[in-house]
Symmetry: C2
Subunit: 414 residues, 2 copies
């Protein structure tokens, strides 16, 4: 079956708000073997909504509308879908009663406009919303001679998601031929997108029954694999086979096999080896520490460190000799190495990780241009320094630098 | 005039990729007085694209398609729009020649599939793309008896944006009645959304000719004001009048009047007062430093600081007495104050800013639950401590804590 999604709300037609529910819904639908063919974003106009619903019913077997189920005058999804289906709305007094109780229990005044949330399209199944006042609705019936299913869902994600999972997934599965779909995500660090694709395209192209999607971010590539088969075992085998071959090809560039983040993987390795890390950050200004500590439980392996933005503090917090900075400049291989070793010693950590560079947009010179970053990793016995020249703006340079630093640590512990 | 936007690409119908270009386009169109009535997301199917284009032409005066102009077999926007308009595609040999030159200049091999990027819909104006190979196209003509404009834009944002600004804005303005639209953004820190709206709704409701949009984020609210009038002066006056009244009501909660970020505002104040800041971060792990240094030129007022995740480092880097930690615990009013004063002294800064708390999800106790954070600000003479209990998950608690800390510093310098 194919699906069409309609996101409802005039705020979604402003420059400020984005429909994000449809990404969640698409994932759930794909897992059932349903493909999304069209997405629509429509304002709070009964006429527009009815028109878009009619068009969607003509071309998709499953139509899902999100939003516009609340109590205000702008909430017109029920009315519009009833128009499109040429069915009446019937007020369900039991729902009105439940709403009254809900309000009084919470000490709120029940105002009459709330009753419209109990207007049910004739023949629809009510989908109870345990996180909000507006219930969803499910209609399966004949439209232009074909069986169609229409689902009305509330817009707020914390209402939509549990409602869909608890009341729609099983119902949908009953309407669909059994689908067995397996998926895997590989993540790759610090490899160019086209270089990565050059290496893996000859492999994944040999397996047309595994759908491969490549998503590139700064310093990170995600390879999504998905396969469909007559049983989950066969689907999983297909996906795993391609994943294995891609891992063989990309080898140590692959850092995650089950969707974990780089921060998580670094944390796993540190814990596994009973090791700790301390950081000294110049141009990243705290980003590496922030990323490491975004993982719950990171206090087990992250001791802390210093943001050494000024030269004075490079000396004070990481014991970098002032003469070294004077001789080579703060952005240099030598200072990076001294920072890594200095912060390691000061904090008593297994590993010292340091970054110094020119994040831009100002501050670059011919010799030391914007984007030049030195990354250093020390364990007391030896210190490795990696020099990189990153493209992009300040935010991107800083992100790349944090990614390179975390990846150095990961590789040393592999 | 009303507009309809069509985002093209099968990747936009997966759970992984989102159309973001339309937010940018909507902002630009709104500034010209054009409202967006529908947005569509369609895969790389010639038939689907032609159908959606026909529907859009029937209901909007301006139809903008984004994406699907590249050289691959999946790039079918040109063909589909030609189908919808029943116009032929004509290959422009001058463009092919320019593409050949572009490729050879960069040392790339020109493959024949690239030529299709020179296929122009009969009668279209070519919109040169200086950041990519696929030119845009502009068609104005009669469709079903009404004048319509169709614009084809390349999908990558770094191609789309300059092309639209350099080659479409002026052309559009010529097609439109003069529109004078003024806008303002006020930003508010650390005030609840409903509390904020309770205070300002009675004001902005009195000015229906100024459109007010309220967007709430963690610890920050944006109030967008927009007005239309017969002259820019009148539009600006309308917006400024409402802005002024809202500022009077919200007073010191308003931190930004021209869209600046909290980090930028803190930076302005520090520079204005010739002051510097140093930070000691426990539960935020570097986030405050990262935010301050996200602003270019922050080295003028940010010295650095320490990530004091372990108790040991709270002592080592910020001179917090070990006995104080033993007596009150690391998450306490006393330790927060000692951190702020200690880091200020160590770094020789005007201000010392510190945070210690329980970010969760683990580590909470009855006495010190998840979300409890102490924020401290010291100038050597006095130290202010703010205790808060933030809602939400680890990421949210950390973000709130950084927001509270930056806002304390802002308020002290107001």
């Amino acid at each position: 079956m194919n699906a069409e999604i309609i996101a409802v709300g005039s705020e979604l037609l402003t420059p400020f708000r984005q429909d994000t529910n449809s990404l969640y819904l698409t994932e759930k639908l794909n897992q059932l073997g349903v493909e999304v063919l069209f997405k629509n974003i429509v304002g709070d106009s009964r006429e527009h909504l009815a028109e878009v619903t009619r068009i969607a019913l003509a071309r998709a077997g499953l139509v899902i509308l999100m939003g516009g189920l609340g109590p205000t005058e702008d909430d017109l999804t029920r009315e519009a879908v009833a128009d499109a289906l040429e069915l009446p709305l019937v007020r369900d007094e039991a729902i009105v009663e439940a709403l009254r109780k809900r309000f009084s229990k919470r000490g709120f005044k029940f105002t009459e406009n709330n009753s419209k949330q109990a207007d049910i399209i004739s023949g629809a199944t009510v989908l109870t919303n345990r996180n909000g006042t507006a219930p969803g609705q499910w209609i399966t019936g004949s439209y232009d001679g074909n069986e169609k299913t229409i689902i009305l869902l509330p817009g707020p994600p914390h209402e939509l998601k549990p409602l869909f999972e608890e009341q729609c997934l099983e119902r949908l599965r009953e309407h669909l031929p059994p689908a067995f779909i397996a998926s895997r995500v590989l993540k790759v660090a610090m490899l160019g997108e086209s270089h990565c694709d050059d290496r893996i395209a000859p492999i994944y192209r040999r397996y047309p029954n595994v759908q491969t999607t490549i998503l590139a971010y700064a310093g990170e590539i995600e390879i999504h694999l998905r396969a469909r088969a007559d049983s989950l075992e066969v689907a999983q085998q297909r996906v795993d086979k391609v994943a294995e071959k891609l891992e063989d090809e990309l080898d140590e560039y692959v850092f995650s096999r089950q969707g974990e983040s780089l921060e998580q993987i670094v944390g796993y390795y540190l814990q596994m080896r009973n090791a700790t890390v301390a950081v000294a950050e110049s141009c990243t200004g705290g980003l590496i520490g922030e990323r490491i500590t975004s993982v719950s439980g990171s206090s087990r392996y992250f001791l802390g460190g210093a943001m050494v933005y000024s030269n004075e503090l490079k000396h004070k917090f990481a014991d970098v000799p002032k003469a070294l900075i004077a001789a080579h400049g703060a952005v240099s291989r030598q200072v990076a190495a001294a920072l890594a070793e200095g912060i390691r010693k000061r904090c008593g950590a297994t590993w010292g990780l340091a970054v110094t560079g020119v994040a831009g947009p100002s501050g670059g010179t011919e010799e030391k241009p914007v984007g030049l970053v030195f990354h250093a990793l020390s364990n007391g016995e030896s210190t490795e320094v990696v020099e990189r020249k990153f493209p992009g703006d300040r935010e991107r340079v800083r992100w790349w630098a944090s990614q390179q630093a975390l990846d150095m640590l990961r590789r040393k512990m592999m």
